[in-house]
Amino acid sequence: MHPLRKQRLQLVILLVAAAALVIGLVVYMLRENGNFFYTPVQIVSGEAPQSTFLRAGGMVVDGSVVRSDDSLWVQFKITDGVEMLTVEHTGILPDLFAEGEAAIASGKVDENLVLQATQILAKHDEKYTPPEVADAMNAAYKAKQEDKKEQGGSYK
């Protein structure tokens, strides 16, 4: 083989190998660090995996926020309109966290199906609802409507 061609071939092989390595790493890291979003329904029904890091979102249920007297431990429930998920967290809640408003909690689900959150996100603007939460609420709302239709109820 011509020496120049040989040199080029080596370069190409090197580039392909490097690209393959990088793509492999990217896919692996995305899988490791991609946190899936689940709705309260999916978690309470057991569809969501336990003890992997995930995110859940919904509206904070009125009157569900319980604070500890001597620490920063807090417990509250979030709902997508169908199921309620209990969330526990130790720390400071964001400014716009409020009952009846949207919130996203990230953490791991324990064996009692309680989300042990390491971080709580609330919206940053009172008009804004995170798209995930809005979708979850809509999906749950639709599912509810269909259930009612099937039951033959005349709600409206």
Binding site: L30, E32, G34, E126, Y128
Partner: protein, 679 residues
């Protein structure tokens, strides 16, 4: 009436930009010099009308004209006047008008300062800038008109500006960032004009370089300000969240940094031609992508305020048009550009040369950009493909970005010493020896003193790596400077006399590189030695964090112009000496009924004390976050140094001199000849 004048001025500006897009370009093909020259006056005219429009919107804010939907949503009679002015760009419609204004500013600057360029080139550049203005003008008028009225039932009071935005940060961060984003449109226009004309050589690079560098300076400072603002205003002490919108500003910056380096090779050596063009196109495309990500609301982010997906579709279409057409042009004309070689011989370079070092720089920067782009867009792609709703966390980004930055820093140390064409490896080894030993000892010894206690348990490997890399860059840069000062006489006094003789671009490189080291030092050390405690405190309580004793003295109520606040008084002591008294606030803004944390901090070069009030608990107790953040200031100090470096380079004499229009062949006499003639 003022609003209508503003609206009409915007429509006139759009008409002018249509003419600016068509007439000079047509003239450049037909050879009509008057048509080509028209581009310059049209650009200035467009600036006048966009500025009128912007002034009208500002007037509407200052006069509390709540019959305008946009003003009613984002202002309030109680809002302090400086925030009424900055509220103009506090939300979608107005921030686009700011985009348009800044684009008009850049276009006018090109029109005014392109006298030394061949008319064909400058007219085409202005024409392409005009086409971009048309896109943004249409976008504003069709989907996001800030002058829309609420009639006949207009509100008597406005909804107020989002409290997070009622801050000095909003006054400076968006205009700076936009100057950077939009500034890359000039780089883009230069690249497309070069592709159309098929003339792309060292002279082109020398003309485009100050524009590219200035845009990059603005973007650097804009990102730095944004990070600093997030740090003190979001209230929880983070300074970078790998949030999609932050990433959106980092992507064009990384490509811009690659471009700033690659164009130096194009200017000095005539190499990397197509690559430089591609980077210029890419930098602007990523700026547009950033705008799309921020404005479409497709991603959940710190910056995702109420959004409208239809606007996203418009920007996506515009993005597709810009990227698609420019890449098509690149594919068609790129080979022509590559084949044409000006009078600078493209000399081959060996494995160890400045060209190779800059190539390595580009490969690393563009790879880092690609990794961040993938991580940022992956949630979108996964959503479209129905793979579930995913968010990619910081570990992904850190995994790729941190090693690449370290690699860049190691290479940076060698790169300042490397020579064009071929560098003697022996020489590099020799020169690198002292800096290497200094860095190694600093890296191994300093972590012992930085940690709270001198023990192996607190000895941090991250700190070793950070210190090693930062010291390496600084010592290598200083050694190079010391040798460059030796011009015939190695005496210290004569070296110091030569300080002013080194060119601005050299100082620019040095300051920017040392800025990277300072920034990296801040990032590394603040993440290693940062101590944070969330505690429950009642007035009178004391808590010790990282050697500082914080006492919660008292809590009072204070009334601001448009908010009421609970203000805590917290004193910090070190070794029983009072260091600082901090007043964190929990504000409640009346108009929106929105609560906001206003952190209090005591800033210092070696450490920040950072205190924020969480929420009231039972009785007198409050949840309080106490932070000690060593060296966190270095992050922004470094960022500003990087920007300053770029500025020094823009001010280099060889770009400032106005040259008479020349034919390409005489202008291509190379950098050395130009420098010689300048003296």
């Amino acid at each position: 009436m003022i609003a209508e004048y503003g609206h009409i001025a915007l429509i006139v500006a759009l008409c002018l930009s249509v003419a600016q897009a068509i007439v000079p370009m047509a003239g450049s093909f037909a050879g009509y010099r008057t048509w080509m020259r028209l581009g310059h006056s049209l650009a200035l005219g467009q600036l006048v009308f966009v500025a009128i429009s912007f002034a009208c919107l500002t007037a509407a804010f200052v006069q509390d004209d709540f019959s305008l939907q946009y003003v009613a949503n984002n202002s309030n009679t109680l809002l302090p006047t400086q925030f009424k002015v900055s509220a103009v760009w506090g939300a979608h419609e107005g921030s686009l008008l700011l985009w348009a204004l800044i684009l008009a500013l850049w276009s006018a600057a090109v029109a005014l300062f392109s006298g030394h360029l061949p008319l064909v080139l400058s007219s085409r550049v202005l024409s392409i800038l005009g086409a971009i203005s048309v896109g943004f003008g249409l976008f504003i008028l069709l989907t996001s008109n800030p002058f829309a009225r609420i009639l006949p039932f207009s509100p008597t009071e406005g909804g107020d500006l989002n409290p997070l935005l009622q801050d000095f940060g909003l006054i400076v961060h968006p205009p700076m960032l936009y100057m950077g984003y939009v500034g890359f449109s000039v780089a883009f226009a230069f690249a497309v004009a070069a592709l159309i004309g098929g003339q792309f050589d060292s002279a082109w690079a020398r003309w485009a370089r100050p524009w590219i560098n200035s845009a990059w300076v603005f973007l650097t400072i804009g990102i730095t300000l944004g990070s600093w603002w997030a740090y003190y205003e979001l209230g929880w002490g983070g300074w970078w969240f790998w949030d999609p919108v932050e990433n959106a500003s980092l992507l064009p910056w990384l490509v811009g940094t690659a471009l700033v380096h690659s164009i130096s090779v194009t200017e000095k050596r005539g190499a990397f031609r197509s690559w430089t063009l591609l980077l210029a196109i890419l930098a602007f495309s990523l700026s547009l992508l950033g705008t799309f990500l921020v404005r479409s609301g497709v991603l959940t982010s710190v910056h995702a305020f109420a959004n409208d997906p239809e606007r996203g579709i418009f920007i996506l279409a515009f993005l597709g048009l810009v990227v698609g057409s420019s890449l098509l042009l690149f594919a068609l004309r790129g080979p022509v550009v590559q084949r044409q070689q000006g009078d600078i011989e493209v000399v081959s370079y060996s494995g160890l040369s400045r060209e190779m070092m800059l190539l390595l720089n580009n490969v690393l920067l563009v790879s880092a950009m690609a990794m961040i782009l993938i991580g940022t867009l992956y949630p979108l792609i996964a959503d479209v493909l129905d793979l579930g709703k995913i968010s990619v966390g910081p570990p992904y980004f850190n995994f790729f970005f941190v090693p690449m930055t370290l690699g860049l820093m190691v290479a940076m140390g060698f790169a300042v010493f490397s020579r064009w064409k071929k560098t003697d490896a022996q020489m590099l080894r020799q020169k690198g020896m002292v800096p290497f030993l200094i860095s190694l000892s600093a890296a191994l010894i300093l972590p012992l003193f930085l940690a709270e206690s001198m023990s192996w348990a607190t000895y941090s490997i991250t700190a070793v790596i950070t210190l090693g890399a930062s010291f390496w860059v600084v010592t290598m840069s200083l050694e190079d400077l010391w040798q460059k000062l030796d011009r015939g006489s190695s005496a210290v006094s004569s070296r110091l006399k030569n300080l002013t003789k080194l060119p601005g671009s050299y100082w620019g490189m040095q300051v920017a590189h040392i800025g990277i080291a300072v920034c990296a030092l801040g990032v590394g050390l603040s993440s290693v030695y940062d101590v944070q405690k969330d505690v429950r405190m009642v007035p009178g309580d004391r808590v010790v964090v990282a050697g500082y004793e914080f006492t919660f003295d008292s809590l009072n109520f204070v009334q601001g112009p448009n908010f009421g606040a609970s203000r805590g008084q917290i004193s910090a002591y070190k070794n029983d000496r009072l260091v600082a008294v901090l007043y964190p606030e929990k504000r409640k803004y009346e108009a929106r009924n929105q609560v906001m944390t206003e952190a209090a901090l005591d800033a210092g070069l070696t450490r920040d004390l950072y205190v924020s009030l969480g929420e009231p608990l039972k009785g007198d107790a409050w949840a309080i976050r106490l932070h000690v953040k060593p060296f966190v200031r270095c992050i922004w100090l470094g960022g500003l140094m990087i920007g300053l470096g770029g500025l020094l380079s823009v001010m280099d004499k060889r770009y400032r001199r106005r040259r008479k229009p020349r034919t390409l062949s005489t202008a291509q006499s190379g950098a050395t000849a130009v420098e010689a003639s300048a003296q």
